[in-house]
Amino acid sequence: MTSVPIAADTAVPNPSLLARAIGFFSGPVGLAIKLVLLAVLNALAFWAVGVLLADQKWIAALAVGGATLLIDLVYLVPDKRLIPLKFLVPGMVFLVAFVVIPIVANANIAFTNWSTGHNLSKDEAIVAIQEVSLVAPADGASYVMTPAEQRGELVLLLVNEATGKPYVGTEDGLEPLSPANVTIANGAVTAAEGYELVQGEELAGIDQQLSTLLVPTGESSFVRAEGLSLAVELQPTLVYVAANDTFRNIETGVVYRDNGKGSYESVTGTTLEPGWRTHVGFENFVTVLTDPLVRDPFVRVFVWTFAYAFLSVFIQFVIGLFLAIVLNKPDLKLKRIQRAFLVLPFAIPAFLSVLVWAGLLNDEFGVINQTLGTNIPWLFDPTWAKVSCILVNVWIGFPYWFLVCTAALQAVPEELTEAARVDCAGPLQVFRRVTLRSCSSSRPRS
């Protein structure tokens, strides 16, 4: 191997293009490009570390920060021993990002119960269970609500939907308002003495305060805003006891405990929805091996996947080789046109061929059954459907092997087959001993 093969044969008087490019980029231009690229990388890393720190993901933040610093050093420290790393680092970064991390993440998920009903973190699940357990109490009221401010504090001006009486709701409780001091129109408070209504574009700003403001009305019941113009009285049916991490049904006293599988479960086996994501060890793998509902289809699919791959490639190869040999006969006429026709299935996009075949194989209206006068359920019977799949795949794939084998056959010197024939070898013998052998040694590396 020569050191600069690209420029070697271009006979130009001045230094080669490559050499000039290297010269150009070695100077301040290269340094500037390097600094800009590193600056972009660092900016991204700064942002990422900021986000990670805000989410309290310390290890990830440390990893991102450390890796970025190391990359900076590799490209900035002028040490000869670091030169190979300059070439390796980009590859390694992409390897980690697109190969290592997905593999680790997938393997990790395999050991969790992540599925419908187990999609939240435990903290989120506790909040969601409390939220879902809220019901309107037996005598619970609903109110037409107008958010307002009193001395800078958010309050709810409420009109009972049933009685039409006005109230003001604060963190301390519900107080009746004197009807003399408020104006009510269309069932809602439109003005109130001592209160400043929050209206129009100000509504967007109070959302968080509004949705978290609970107006206590009893031991556990409260009035809460539902949207911007309605408030309802609600009370929980389940209460979370943080001390021993359980939920208790207020009415029946039933206690739900963390069952270690991502749900709160009572002694009778009823679980609360939603559950949360958690590691369950080898449970998923045990299910695959022991539960016949999962195992049987899994084994079937697994076996068929291999059978399908083997059968379709093998049949494609056999047909491709056969056709290549047939068309390799020296005295055949119109060889090129015939070959071109055989390559056609390869030239048509596979998804088109598949659609066309689906129509051809339709057992009631399809051309194949109508031409043959048969009634074969090509796509409806599990066994026939498998046959159809292989058939179509062979159709799509054999031209590839035909091309490969034709190329290989043409590399077999004609003298060899001729010599074999002179030595009285039959056609099969010539094929096995000479053609196939020379082919396999000159097989294209793909």
């Binding site: 900076d72 357990s133 129009g200 967007a204 509004l210």
Partner: protein, 414 residues
Amino acid sequence: MLSTHRLRVVAGLAVTAIAAVVAVSSGSSATNATTLVIWADADRVPAVTQVANAWAAPKGVTVQIVQKNFGDIRSQLNTVAVETAPDVIVGAHDWVGELSANGSVLPLSPSAGTKKQFPAYALNSFSYGIAVKKLFGAPVALENIALVTNTALAKVPTSFADMERQALAAKKKTKAQVGIAVQQGSGGDAYHMYPFFSGLGGYIFGTNAVGNLDPSNIGVANAKFLKNAPLIDKWNKESLIRSQVAWDTGRDLFTKGKVAYYITGPWFLSDIQKSGVKYAISGFPQIVPGINSVPFLGVQGFMVTKFSAPHGVESLAKDLVANYMMQPSAQLALASANGRFPANLKAAAQVKDKDLKAFGKASEGGVPMPNIPQMASVWGDLGAAWVRSTKGAGAIPARRSFIGAQKSIAQKIG
């Protein structure tokens, strides 16, 4: 020499660090206006844009509508990052079981006056809960299949016997392979076969004392249905229906005038109108006296996601969905924009389109598709049972086929 090198390293780090700090600080200093993100499918984007903007403008809120494939809305909600997550989604009522079991959507409490404007089943179908049943979505549009008659070939049937006779007569005349075009395909289609299924006495889940669907009571092969099941074998023998008819073959059979009857939904209405075939839309006649033949009802609506709380727009989202979107005017605008019947009764009374009204009429008595997660185990087996029994030659007697389906479903639900 060494000191220049060191200088270069320090200078390089300093330059990049400063650039980074400047970039980050300028990025975060951008002001954050209140934005509400809505995920909607292509069909509904224009209508939702119009209605949501009308709501948002006076409140100083910006609405951002993200177009998604309908099915992707459900699946991507499970994995989306908080930053890009929607606050409000368009969805179907049968997603509610899964989404609320995942804690992805928030319960809603519309006012009593608003609730009164909706048929009970529409609210029920968007409600879910094992112990406490809560509303998780605002129903907007009803979707169901109906019977479409080619009026040049046959009359709107007065009874099922009449329909069967006319369908077979038309089949003979046009030399079609089937009498009634109803789509199944190789995977089966329990949804489109439901009028036949319910008309023969079948049901999917019974209800318990509280009125919740009971997954332990499966009615795929109940006694009443099995008694009537031999009719399916008769239909198969006379090629009244055939499992080989897929969605496209079914549509082509009708739009090319080959069949007298077509069972389909409003999504193919424009194809039918384009084809020039004269048609009439109606409900289904009773197959067996005393049992109504009804379609499945799909109810579509809006839901508030759990992400609205961390985004700081929970009350706004609830106001849009549980208050504004449930009003007659918004309902009418949303429902007519993509050719579906509105769920709100006051809005329904104002529908003028004749075909839309006919689809609405065909929905009467319909059964909302079960919204409990166990329904996922039913579709495949029930569809396959129909395919096995209506595939023409080599079909399995319906009795055996549906008993097998019932067993398989029960096993999957456990």
